[in-house]
Amino acid sequence: MSELSAAWHPIASSEDLPYRHVFHGQLLGREFAVWRADDGNVNVWENRCLHRGVRLSIGINEGAELKCQYHGWRYANRTAGCTYIPAHPADAPARRITNRTYPVIEFAGLVWSAAGAADAFVEPLQEADWFALRPIPVTATPEMVRDKVVAAAEPGSEPVRLTEFGYSMKLAGGRGEDAAVFIQPVDAGRAVIRALLPETPAQPLATLRHYNALLNALREQIERTAREAPAPEPIEPEYEPVSLELATMPELRLGTRTSIRVRVARKYDAGEGVIGLDLAALEGHLPTFQPGAHIDVHLPNGLVRQYSITNGPGEQLHYGIGVKREPESRGGSSTIAEAVREGDLLAISEPRNNFPLRRDATRTTLIAGGIGITPLLAMAKNLFGSRLEFDFHVFARSQQHLPFADALERFGDHVSPHIGLDAAETGRTLEEIVGSYSFARHLYVCGPAPMLELVRALAARNGWPDEAVHFEYFKNTREIDQSSSFTVELARSALTLEVPAGRTILEVLRENGVEAPSSCEQGACGTCLTKVLEGTPDHQDVYLNETEKQANASMLTCVSRSLSDKLVLDI
C-alpha cells in the first residue's frame, strides 16, 4: 500500500465543491474534509478536529476559515493552522495546533489528492475540455471494480492504462467516446468510479443520464459479485507522527531569527506617505497568523523593524504590511522607501500575536490613528468576514493621508473616517466614540501615543474595565531609567544573576546563555513578556495595562527592572 499512498487519485469532482460547503472524502481509508475557500483554493485536510476529534466535514466553511461544529475551533485556509479557540478568546492559539493537510491539485474537472507523501503530479490525461460524469460509489474492492470496469470495455476495443487505477477506454453501450475512467480506492471494500468524457457533449443532460444508467447497471453487477465474498476489513491508515517542525517546541529566540525568506511581490502607494508591501512566500504558503499579529522584517541595512500583518483571514500566500515614511527616519522606513524594490528577497520572522482579537464581543470598536490602521485592518477583515458587529474609526490628516482607503471601502457603514480634525475636535470625537461601557464590548486602539493615552483615559473614566481596552503602541517613547541594580532568580533554570545599572534583564539573560524571545526590545510589542513569581517589577513598558502592572505578575524583560532587591522569574 505504501506505493499506492504516494499515488495521486481523484477524490471528488470540482463541482462537488461549491463555495461554503464541506465535502466528505476518503482515500485508502483516510477520511478527508475537503473545502473550497472563497479565493478558490481547495483544502484537503484530515477529517478530524485537533481538539476533540470531531469530523471537520460537519463543520462550517466560512469562506476563509473552517470552523469545527463542536467547540468552534477555527482553522485557516491553506495552512490548516488554528486561528481561534473560543474557550480562550483573549489568547492567540499556539502555532503547533495545525491540522494535517494532504496534497491537492484540480485537474480535468476532478480534485486529486494522495494518502501520504505524494509523488510529483504527472498529468494522467491530455489537457482537454474534460466533462465529468456522475461519480458512482461502489461497495466492492477497488481491484474488483477496476477489473470489472476494464471488462466492461466495448467488445473489440482495448483499454489503455493511464494510472494504476485509471484507463482510457470505450465503455460498452456508451456513445463511442474514449472515456477516461478512474477508480478511486476509498477503502478496502469501497471505491468510486469517476469517469470523464473528452469533451462536453452536444446534449449534456441526456449523455449524463445515459452513462449514469450504464454505470448504475455496472455497479449492480459488480456488487452482486462482491456480495459473494465477505467484505474485507477496512484499512487502518497509519498516521505518521506530526512533522518534526510542529512537534518540537518553537525556538525561543524567534525575535532575532531570520526564519522565513519572502519576495517583495508588490510595492505600492497605500496613501500619502504610506508604502504598501506584499511579501510573498517563495513557494507554497506562509505560516498561520491571526489578526493583530506582527512580523519582524530584516532590512537590507541590518535594521529589524516590526510591522503588523494587514491580511484578511485565510490569505496565506503573502503578508501585506504598511510602512509610514517617517521624515525623521532612523533608517527603517527610508530604507524601505529607497532601497527595497519589487522582486527583492527579505528575511522575516514568523508572525507573533501580542494583540489578539476576541470574537466574543457583542460589539467591537476599532480606533486607528494614521498608520496604526494596519493591525486593525486585519481585525476588521476578520470581523466583517464572520459578520460580527463592529465599527471602525480611522483618523487621518487628510483624505489623501487615509491609509489603505481602497481596502476600507468594502466595510461600508462599518467605517467612519475622521479627516483633518484638530486636537480639540479629535478629543471630542474620541469621547463620543468611546462612550460609556456596556457588557461584552471591546475596544481596540492603535495609533500615536497621545491618542492612545487619551482613549485609555476616556475609557477608564467611562467605566471600561482594563481587560476590555486593547491597545498597541508603535514605540515606547518613555525615557527608560536604567539606574537600578538588582538580583534576578530564574526559578526554572536554577540560576541567580545580577543585573547592574545600564544593562537590561534581557541582555543579562542572553549573556548567561539563557535564550529568551524578544522583538521590539523597547517595551512596546510584548514578545518578551515573562511571569513574575516574587518581587516587585519596575514597569517601564507601554504594553501592559494598569491592572496588569499593578498585579505585578508579569513584566517585560527588555525595559522593565525591579523595585525590590530581588525578582524571581518563571524562566
Binding site: 471528488a12 463541482e15 462537488d16 461549491p18 463555495y19 461554503r20 460547503h21 465535502f23 466528505h24 472524502g25 476518503q26 472563497d38 460537519i58 462550517i60 466553511n61 466560512e62 469562506g63 470552523k67 461544529q69 456522475r134 461519480p135 460509489p137 469501497r190 468510486v192 449534456p204 443532460l205 449524463l208 443520464r209 449514469n212 459578520r387
Partner: protein, 215 residues
C-alpha cells in the same frame, strides 16, 4: 393556539417544528415520553391518537396525526406565500405526494435503524440500514441531476416545499442510524440548502450550516 404533542428526539416531531419555525408560527408543545416511558402507547395518549404514534397536532379543536398530514395542513392554512404546498398546482401536489411517501420509506429504514441503535427497538438494524442506503442512492441521483437541471429542491418549483421538510429530518439524522452520507455528495449539498432556509431551526443531532457566500 397550536399544540404539538412532541418528543424532542423524534425526527417526525421535528418536521412540524421546522415548518412552524419557518412560517413564524407560535405554538406550544406537550412533551410525550416516547422513550423510555412509552407514553405514546399510554391509555391517555391512545385516546388522542389510536395509532399510538407521534406527533399529534391540535389546532382549534382539530386533532391531526401523521407528520406529513400535519405539514399539509399547516402549509395550506398558514403559509401566506402559498409556496410550501401549492394548492393550485396539481402537478406539484402529485410530486409532493411522491416525496411524502418517500419520507415514510426513510422513516421505515433510516429512522428504524436509529431507533434500534439508540432506543433499543427490536428491529433488523442491518436490513434497515441497507434499505436506507438504497433510498439514499435514489435521492442522491435525483438531487444530482436536479443540480444539472437548475433544480435545488426535491420538487420542480424554484423554492422548497413540504416535500423537503418531510424528507430532511431522518436524512440529516442518518449518522445516528449508522448510515453515513459520505457516498451521497448531492444529498449533503441539499442538506446545506435546507439549513439555509430563513427560519430554519435545529434539533439534537442536526447541526446548522453557515451562511452562503454573498453574491
Amino acid at each position: 393556539m397550536i399544540t404539538l404533542y412532541d418528543f424532542e428526539l423524534s425526527g417526525n416531531c421535528y418536521k412540524p417544528r421546522l415548518l412552524m419555525s419557518i412560517l413564524g408560527l407560535t405554538y406550544e408543545t406537550v412533551p410525550v415520553d416516547f422513550y423510555p416511558g412509552r407514553e405514546h402507547k399510554s391509555e391517555a395518549f391512545l385516546k388522542l391518537n389510536p395509532f399510538g404514534e407521534l406527533p399529534v397536532l391540535v389546532d382549534d379543536g382539530l386533532v391531526l396525526r401523521d407528520s406529513q398530514a400535519i405539514l399539509i395542513y399547516l402549509a395550506s392554512k398558514y403559509d401566506k406565500t402559498g409556496q410550501w404546498y401549492p394548492l393550485s398546482d396539481p402537478a406539484v401536489l402529485a410530486e409532493i405526494a411522491i416525496w411524502h411517501d418517500f419520507a415514510n420509506r426513510i422513516t421505515a429504514t433510516a429512522s428504524a435503524a436509529r431507533l434500534g441503535l439508540s432506543m433499543f427497538y427490536d428491529v433488523d438494524i442491518e436490513a434497515a440500514q441497507a434499505g436506507a442506503h438504497q433510498l439514499f442512492r435514489l435521492l442522491d441521483e435525483h438531487l444530482w441531476f436536479g443540480e444539472r437541471e437548475g433544480r435545488d429542491w426535491l420538487c420542480a418549483p424554484s423554492h422548497p416545499t413540504t416535500a423537503d421538510i418531510a424528507c430532511f429530518p431522518y436524512v440529516a439524522l442518518s449518522e445516528e442510524a449508522g448510515v453515513p452520507r459520505q457516498d451521497y455528495p448531492a444529498i449533503r449539498r441539499w442538506l446545506d440548502r435546507v439549513k439555509r432556509i430563513p427560519g430554519f431551526t435545529v434539533m439534537s443531532g442536526v447541526f446548522p450550516a453557515g451562511p452562503a457566500i454573498e453574491a
